[in-house]
Symmetry: C2
Subunit: 413 residues, 2 copies
């Protein structure tokens, strides 16, 4: 008898009919001989409506404590409705808020970190043969104030509960069939991955394959919780996200991802001396701008160019801030470019293979695509190119690395 | 510095603009040198929408625990929004759910009874100069399950909090200016009462003047909490509901009320023997029918007629049930009448005056109105008449007892 944590997002519980579908799925799992705890998000649209109300009454910066108290009601609605729908099948079910399930977090409202999950009442419900229906996204601090984990936090809730219960698997139901080698809307030959490692998933998630929240993958990796990403609309296996040692085949490249939500800023002619990078990036970080890639090139004259990317919605203010700082540190000039794309290849197998990056650059060169920035990690190579070439680059790289017979030409290290 | 508990119902917080109005009112009260805790209901329409969802997913009898978990989210939404709106005035405010404020109830979901209010965090907030914004209608049982107090329970929440805090007054804001001598829509000369006693208010509330929940008045009486019923739209005093000894003027009749939501059932020719009343009313009570008036007349032949009234929406099933029982106990026949009205006069002064009932009957006789049933208590006389005479009766009684100079002809006891 397996213990399974299932997580359904807002789209899967968007209306009563879909909630009934989720209930059916939960009941089938339980009747197949498993114990089930199910974590749900707010009905699609609900959180946005609550956020709009918060803006209307609390201004641009509503009080974080009250904001959390408000938006957490969305999930509370769903859990009660889902518990009722499960009970209609004659199966006992009980709903639990963050407080009731003992989801203890720190005091950082709107982006709280989970400290522990007490899970006493969840266990009692499961032991009595019932289904525990849990509110995702929310917890409480030590004073009993409601906190939220930030957008997409329901994935993290599910993984934390799975870890606390020692569940056999945490199933994440989404509107796609699993994790694909690249965006199937872009590349017809994209195929579903059977298994990927936590690290590959992390690289893919952070690079724009928005199937799973990064934090939930980190959590799953830390506690060794196997994730199963699968469709809430179809039956059949999805993609398992597991420890590296449990990934049998280790393709050189597991996936090709792209991201068009960034912009590039280049500070030219910076005097190459200690502390310059800190001077540039500290104010940006203090302003809450999350800098992604950072590349530094030492120029021929002893000065250096510093190029970095930021989320596109932060581009304007990051650019003006960079200009101010450039003036202070005596840089020559600042250039910006809002029309870029980041394209990456990710794969555990890169650890064992040399020449992968070179082959990537060749593939792009053959298509006449110029590379503006390069950044590499152990299991990933990312390049920044002109935005208009994004689709072309993804297709070419997918054909070269992922499609049948594509991985052969890479030399063994 | 007074400690004031204010309660605003669903109409007063129906949309963001009205929530801002409530915030303004709260802030004015606090800035006038008072400490304020404010209890609110769900935004008008919200609870109905949640109940509709519960019906859709939980069927005709949704699980009471989940039903409470669901509908309590309505108030949680309002408290967070109101706290934000108060903070916009630069005043600290914190919202508290039933759980957070320590509103402890028994385990009777959907109609829980308050056992105690811990109020620790409410007191802390007030001591720090902040406004405590409290969810009405909800509490928790000893296991931490969310309970609700039943429709209109927010009045009771407010009074319970006022009692726990030892508040100077519990202000109930409504869409009327206070408690009137009769329905102002019916009688132009109706006037607002300055003060009424708890007992008068109880008689008036249960007789159809739907300004205050009966339970909240009982609670206020038990704990000696002065209530102030006033308009959420206008300034100015409303009606104070206080202990009998604090009512200075004691008019013979404080108010004239009417109720058209009842129906009459008469069981004729019942053998007058012990146990007959129990045989008749036990099954009705078990079926959840709340019987209001009961009148028994001993007939000339040793048999008796038993007449009683029930809520009109229970009329059909109560009638068929009465017919079954009549057959069992060998009664002659059962008559029913769905077109009746109950008209009552209520007043503390009746205790000290004789002849009030007689004068009421004379007044109705002068208008040619036949009386079908009579029932009296220490401070009230109720009659059942044909429904079509309801307005006429109310106007005549109001003119005779309440309007200027009307009370004079009553003889002292």
């Amino acid at each position: 008898m397996a213990l399974i944590v299932q997580k359904f997002g807002g789209t899967s519980v968007a209306d009563p009919e879909r909630i009934r579908n989720v209930a059916r799925r939960v009941v089938e799992t339980q009747r197949a001989g498993n114990r089930v705890a199910v974590v749900v998000s707010a009905m699609a649209g609900e959180t946005d409506a609550l956020v709009a109300l918060a803006r209307e009454l609390g201004g641009d910066a509503p009080d974080p404590r009250e904001y959390d108290a408000l938006v957490s009601t969305g999930e509370q609605k769903t859990i009660a409705l889902l518990a009722m729908a499960i009970q209609e099948h004659g199966l006992p079910a009980q709903s639990f808020t963050g407080m009731q399930m003992g989801m203890r977090t720190d005091r950082s409202h709107t982006r709280a970190r989970i400290e522990r999950v007490e899970a006493t009442r969840i266990r009692e419900t499961l032991d009595e043969g019932g289904v525990a229906v849990l509110a995702g996204f929310q917890g409480i601090d030590e004073q009993g104030n409601v906190t939220t984990l930030g957008r997409g936090g329901s994935d993290t809730s599910a993984v934390a509960v799975a870890a606390a219960l020692g569940a056999d698997v945490c199933e994440i139901y989404t509107d796609v069939d699993g994790v694909f080698t690249t965006d199937p809307n872009l590349v017809a030959a994209a195929r579903k991955l059977e298994r990927v490692s936590y690290d590959e998933m992390l690289e893919m998630a952070s690079l724009g394959a928005k199937v799973l929240q990064i934090r939930s993958v980190l959590f799953a990796k830390r506690y060794g919780v196997p994730l199963h990403v699968r469709s809430s609309f179809h039956e059949g296996e999805g993609t398992w996200v597991v420890a590296e040692e449990d990934v049998m085949e280790r393709p050189v490249v597991s996936g090709v991802t792209y991201n068009r939500d960034e912009a590039k800023i280049r500070v030219c002619g910076v005097k190459d001396q200690p502390g310059v990078a800190a001077k540039l990036f500290t104010p940006l970080s203090e302003a809450g701008v999350v800098v992604d890639m950072i590349v530094q090139n030492l120029g021929h004259d002893g000065s250096t160019d510093m190029t970095f990317t930021v989320p596109r919605h932060d581009y304007a203010r990051a650019l003006s801030q960079a200009q101010e700082i450039a003036a202070e540190i005596g840089a020559d000039q600042v250039e910006g470019d809002g029309e870029i794309a980041k394209v990456s290849i990710v794969g555990l197998g890169m650890k064992d293979h040399a020449g992968v990056a070179t082959r990537m650059f060749q593939t792009l060169a053959e298509e006449g695509i110029n590379i503006q920035l390069i950044s590499t990690s152990e299991i990933k190579v990312s390049v920044v190119i002109e935005e208009k070439y994004a689709e072309l680059a993804v297709r070419a790289l997918h054909a070269a690395f992922v499609e049948d017979g594509a991985a052969e030409p890479v030399a063994e290290s």
